[in-house]
């Protein structure tokens, strides 16, 4: 593959450069979204890496994103996680049931943050949780969230508003 990159024409190299810039810009958010989906650091990195490989393949064949690449990458990552959960005998467990290795959990602050995300997840339905994170953590719009989750924009708004209503009834979650 690298040989192909080295011997590629100028337009392809330009495309490679664009992909690399996109990769550098989106990697942290992609890892964060993968962590939201799988709740495990190393698995999240695996998912993000596989997402980038698939995205690279699609990019090479001219099937890249039409606009913002982040929702496109999130769609790929989400499909990878769904496929893996179908294939695995034991699905990925949330952090509350399967503790990460001590090396992965290396600071109290991070552990506390992970516990807070778990508490948030327990308050909400999976769809509400994902819609709220995509809206407030990743600052995506209804259309983009809908494309990622396979919902209509109205469905996204419903999930977000119901999730917020649930959280308003439990303000202690935000106070932690």
């Amino acid at each position: 593959m690298l040989r192909a990159i080295e011997s590629a024409p100028a337009s392809t190299l330009e495309s490679e450069g664009a992909f690399e810039r996109m990769y550098v810009a989106t990697w942290p958010r992609l890892c964060r979204y993968a962590w939201v989906l799988v709740r495990h650091h190393e698995d999240a990195e695996d998912v993000a890496a596989e997402t980038m490989r698939r995205a690279y393949g699609a990019w090479q064949t001219g099937r890249g994103p039409a606009g913002d690449p982040l929702p496109w990458l999130f769609v790929i990552a989400r499909r990878i996680v769904i496929d893996r959960n179908k294939r695995r005998v034991l699905p990925w467990l949330p952090l509350s049931r399967a503790a990460e290795s001590p090396a992965a959990v290396d600071s109290f602050g991070r552990l506390e943050a992970a516990a807070w995300f778990d508490q948030l997840r327990e308050c909400l339905s999976p769809r509400q949780h994902e819609a709220i994170l995509l809206r407030f953590l990743f600052d995506l719009g209804d259309d983009e969230i809908g494309r990622i989750m396979g919902l209509s924009p109205a469905g996204v708004r419903t999930n977000v508003s119901r999730g917020i209503a649930t959280l308003r009834r439990r303000p202690e979650v935000l106070d932690r």
Binding site: M1, L2, I5, F19, E20, Y23, V24, W27, P28, C31, R32, W35, H41, E45, D46, A49, E50, M52, R53, Y56, D106, S107, G109, R110, E112, A113, A114, W116, F117, I132, L133, F136, L137, I164, L167, R168, P171, L174
Partner: protein, 131 residues
Amino acid sequence: MSADSFERVLRDRLKAGAAELDRSMPPAPSLQALLVSPQAYRPAYLRLGFGLAVAAALAVALISGSLLLGQSPAVRPLSSITPSATPSLATPSQSLITASPSPSLASPSGWPPVTAVTAELAPPLPTIYES
């Protein structure tokens, strides 16, 4: 708390938590390393070849194992084995068992009775008279 301020608090809280999680996130690997890493997609034929090689190795192991079993001496059924007529090396006189001999000790003909053997080993018991 108004809806807007609640959403703002939620957003800030989410971003603070995510930033805490991101602090220990390793930096992005180089793209080239990512694309050529061992976890990259392996061609299907490679996986098929590996599976075939493993299956062939298992078949060879099974066949050679069955051939080795064929060369070993035949296993005789237990019912065909007759007990040896020779008594065991430990003669009954050397036995320390004096009471309640097992039936096997009394069975061979020509041996001294167990009571005689015990008489040799142990002094005679004093006679107890009833008053």
